[in-house]
């Protein structure tokens, strides 16, 4: 008997083995990464432009080749085979090693950029940062900084692994469209446009130009130096000042009311973008315990409260012209500790460095004040919810396992309750992995959003 459906016959007989093309892709990516390491450890290239192009190009091409072969060899669908057997994705040796390397990278990036080759006090860049000089020159005519290197690699990773994610979830149009937006948001709003604008305004002082980087995630937005730089930044500075205020005061609550916090957290946010792409293989490592939920609620809302208080202090200082508040130096006692502990140590070192150990959304779940702010709106006044489908849930637990925010989705689904939780970032993976079609992300009327009906015992 001849199968009717020939269109899918590209499927391999043994789809879950790593074949030649996949190895080629991995090797190519490996070469790209190796060049970065060679630069990092002090070998200087004759031609940085060429080697940088080879490095970034082969990382991207290798990833795409590997992902294309891997996922197109299988029929479209959820393929989480071996996630809990793989050393990298199940907190094994490779996972811990990756965690240590990532954490190390962030520590160096934040506090010892000279180890990456940043030229201090006007000295020329060396090592890894020098490798990125040509690209930085192209945009701004200036040599690279550690933040330029970081931003470039960050964008490359979101784009490459975003393509991988799309291939992995190619049967799911919500995931495809969402990830395309994540890629575009990172590439254009966070990287290309800010860099081009900076290139056009090189004489102006620095202020954050990522178009979607709002207070309170951007914790230094109201700091006096940042306000001053925007105020003295010409019309562009004024545009960013006004947009920044509209962004957190109007855009954020309005969009969160209509779509839930997902419009930001899993569609455009940079941290979220990295978590959804690079972090995807680690999403199941999030802690699902009630204890973790308790810690989450205290921690994230404390941080929102903290940054709000600090911002008031900062604004008091700005308008009163005083550098102290109640006798305490504003920089020493307020802005600096927050930047160090929350802005750098939590969001960067722990947030990304611990991906392979604590999952991909540690920062978003426990720390991000922007997420906390939107979460309050989402919980109490938003059209967004995840609907469960009557009595179809079989309590298998795929949804809870793959929830990157550690929500016990199953607990709701098996009772036929809608999921209305402050922390849900609306990534849609619970709905994707559900084998019984139980979960659906929806925007709808506020009436009956939090339901208690069960599809079981009838009186």
């Amino acid at each position: 008997m001849k199968p009717i459906y020939n269109s899918l016959s590209v499927v391999d007989i043994q789809p879950y083995k790593t074949g030649f093309i996949q190895k080629l892709g991995l090797t190519l990516s490996g070469v790209g990464i190796l060049i970065l390491f060679i630069a990092l450890f002090g070998v200087s290239f004759q031609n940085n432009t060429l080697f940088l192009a080879i490095s970034l190009g082969s990382i991207f091409a290798g990833t795409v080749i590997y992902a294309t072969k891997t996922y197109l060899s299988m029929p479209a669908g959820i393929k989480n085979h071996g996630m809990w057997y793989n050393s990298l994705t199940s907190k094994g040796m490779l996972g811990w090693l990756t965690g240590v390397i990532l954490t190390g990278f962030y520590i160096v990036l934040y506090w010892y950029p000279e180890l990456l080759g940043l030229g201090l006090n006007g000295a020329p860049n060396t090592h890894l940062i020098a490798l990125f000089n040509p690209l930085s020159n192209f945009f701004t005519g200036k040599p690279a900084s550690q933040w330029f290197v970081y931003g470039s690699l960050y964008t490359l990773i979101i784009v490459s692994l975003g393509v991988k994610f799309i291939l992995k979830y190619r049967h799911n149009r919500y995931q495809i469209i969402r990830t395309l937006v994540v890629i575009v948001a990172q590439l254009f709003l966070a990287y290309l446009i800010p860099n081009i604008l900076e290139g056009m305004n090189t004489e102006r002082p620095y202020f954050a130009m990522d178009i979607k980087y709002f207070w309170p995630l951007n914790y230094y937005f109201f700091n006096d130096w940042h306000l001053n730089n925007m105020v003295h930044g010409g019309s562009l500075g004024m545009v960013y000042l006004v947009w920044g205020i509209i962004g957190f005061l109007i855009v954020t609550p309005v969009l969160t009311y209509y779509f839930g916090k997902r419009w930001y957290c899993s569609w455009v946010c940079g941290c979220g973008g990295l978590a959804e792409t690079a972090g995807d293989p680690f999403r199941h490592l999030s802690d699902k315990s009630v204890k973790a939920w308790k810690i989450e609620r205290y921690l994230i809302h404390s941080i929102l409260l903290l940054i709000t208080l600090i911002t008031f202090v900062v604004l008091y200082g700005y308008f009163s012209g005083s550098s102290t508040f109640l006798g305490l130096d504003i920089y020493t006692y307020f802005t600096h500790p927050y930047g160090f502990l929350i802005g750098a140590a939590f969001s960067g070192v722990v947030g990304v460095g611990f991906y392979p150990i604590l999952g991909s959304r540690v920062w978003c779940r426990f720390g991000c004040p922007m997420a906390a702010y939107m979460g309050i709106i989402q919980r109490f006044k938003s059209r967004f919810r995840i609907t469960t489908n009557g009595g179809q849930c079989i309590s298998c637990g795929n949804c809870s396992t793959y929830c990157e925010m550690g929500i016990d989705v199953r607990a709701y689904a098996q009772k036929g309750q809608n999921i209305v939780r402050a922390s849900c970032v609306g990534c849609g993976i619970c709905s994707a992995v559900c084998p019984r079609g139980v979960l659906k992300l929806e925007n709808g009327k506020l009436d009956g959003r939090i339901n208690n009906k069960t599809f079981t015992y009838k009186k």
């Binding site: 199968p3 459906y5 989480n80 149009r173 179809q392 298998c396 098996q414 994707a432 019984r436 079609g437």
Partner: protein, 431 residues
């Protein structure tokens, strides 16, 4: 204080325990031979494939039971004495009860094939089955699965994830054809073959052959073929797991016989879930129903009765769901493999995707009776209501969009289906 003893910690027994606890302070003891804590057996396949760890199949944290004062005993019940209201465990310990709930679930069927007890021959139902397979899969090059049903397809997917070659023997002329109509069944046949599974229809297992050391070496089929294999999966259904009650006063046939209140012939003894056999099944349902949600509903119902609100088991309109590899299946109302005399059918199938929709409606009344859907998600509540309210087939077609439960941005098929429906009826009118 009344002591409620529940034998079996599956979805039925645990639901009963939880609901009794919600409504009362009775002492509750749950005894299980299989596992220390409640887990979802539907997820065993995902543990094997590495999607989840076993702990993820447990819907409640381990501390939940103590917090809710539900005592758990991990042991086997050997004997039930309903006169003394006493159970005897394997370890010799006796337990007295005031109310007893039997919720021992199923066991895999074996039909007396020669060699069926050899090493490497097993079903897939219990936690122990998963453990056995996990220990043995590395030496399997080819596996033969016997039976064309839902557990078979899951086991096939599991083995394929380890790059093991799979043969499936199906007695019927097409996969799951006793339940699925021909077109859907044919679609599943294609899907199975797409995954490079050797699907042998109209074929039965004759014998499992020993390698001389008590392990399976090969099997022979009713087509006189010998297939070398290191594993035989018996997935020919399950039946009530009630042997231990044989010498009790509890009346049994295939399962423990219960009335509509889930009461057995013995006062204060109830039976729920897979192991119960309904004396008077309602709504076209089978006397023994091995379905997750009916276990849950029975658990909730018996809890009501035990807490002094004697309640009838009312599962409502039939529904079910499954997944064949990457293709989801849902059904609401009754769709029989062959339509009954009063039933008319409308069937739509996508040309190049594994998606289909079948609507069954009454020939005379024109009202909707059931739906089978592959590759599209439908809203349970909407179809439940339509079937209950006897909405006309035209109404269903016109409002199909309100029943769609696919994620946002998914392709919609309602327009194509409506068009198909209209041309279907033109053809009928001309004829």
């Amino acid at each position: 204080m009344k002591h409620i003893v529940i034998i079996g910690n599956g979805i039925s027994g645990i639901t009963a325990a939880r609901h009794i606890r919600k409504m009362s302070n009775y002492r509750i003891t749950v005894i299980s031979e299989e596992s220390e804590y409640f887990f979802s057996r539907t997820a065993l396949m995902y543990v094997f494939m590495g999607h989840m760890k076993f702990e993820h199949t447990q819907p409640y944290e381990n501390s939940f039971w103590e917090k809710n004062k539900i005592d758990l005993i991990h042991n086997t019940v050997k004997h039930v004495d309903t006169k003394q209201k006493m159970l005897t465990l394997k370890t010799g310990i006796s337990i007295w009860y005031d109310d007893l709930i039997i919720a021992t679930g199923s066991k895999s069927n074996k039909f007396g094939w020669p060699g069926q007890d050899l090493d490497g021959v097993q079903g897939l139902y219990h936690k122990q089955d998963l453990e056995k397979l996990t220990q043995n899969y590395k030496s399997i090059k080819r596996a033969v699965l016997v039976g064309g049903g839902l557990i078979g397809i899951e086991l096939a997917e599991m083995l394929l994830s380890k790059n093991i070659a799979v043969t499936i023997l199906v007695r019927e002329k097409s996969f799951w054809n006793g339940v699925l109509p021909d077109e859907e069944s044919a679609m599943i046949n294609d899907l199975i073959r797409l995954h490079h599974i050797d699907l042998q229809l109209n074929t039965e297992l004759v014998e499992v052959i020993d390698d001389g050391e008590g392990k399976v070496k090969s099997i022979t089929t009713s087509k006189k073929e010998q297939i070398d294999c290191q594993f035989v999966g018996l997935t020919v259904g399950v039946s009530p797991n009630i042997e231990f009650l044989k010498d009790s006063d509890i009346e049994m046939e295939r399962g423990v016989l219960v009335n509509e209140f889930l009461e057995t012939n013995v006062p204060n003894v109830y039976s729920i879930g897979d192991c119960a056999q309904h004396r008077t099944p309602t709504g076209g349902r089978k006397p023994v129903e091995q379905v997750w949600y009916t276990g849950r509903i029975m658990g909730e119902t018996v809890a009501q009765t035990i807490c002094n609100n004697r309640s009838q088991y009312q599962p409502g309109i039939w529904f079910n769901s499954a997944k064949f590899f990457d293709v989801e299946y849902q059904t609401y109302g009754w769709v029989w493999a062959k339509p009954k005399e009063n039933e008319a059918t409308f069937f739509w199938k996508s040309k190049n995707e594994y998606k289909s929709l079948r609507l069954i409606y009454d020939k005379i009344g024109n009202h909707i009776l059931g739906v089978n859907v592959f590759g599209i998600r439908l809203r349970h509540e909407v179809f439940d209501q339509w079937i209950q309210e006897k909405k006309s087939i035209e109404y269903v077609i016109d409002n199909l969009k309100t029943a769609n439960f696919d994620p946002e941005f998914f392709k919609h098929y309602e327009a194509e289906i409506t068009q198909n429906f209209q041309s279907h009826f033109k053809t009928l009118e001309i004829a």
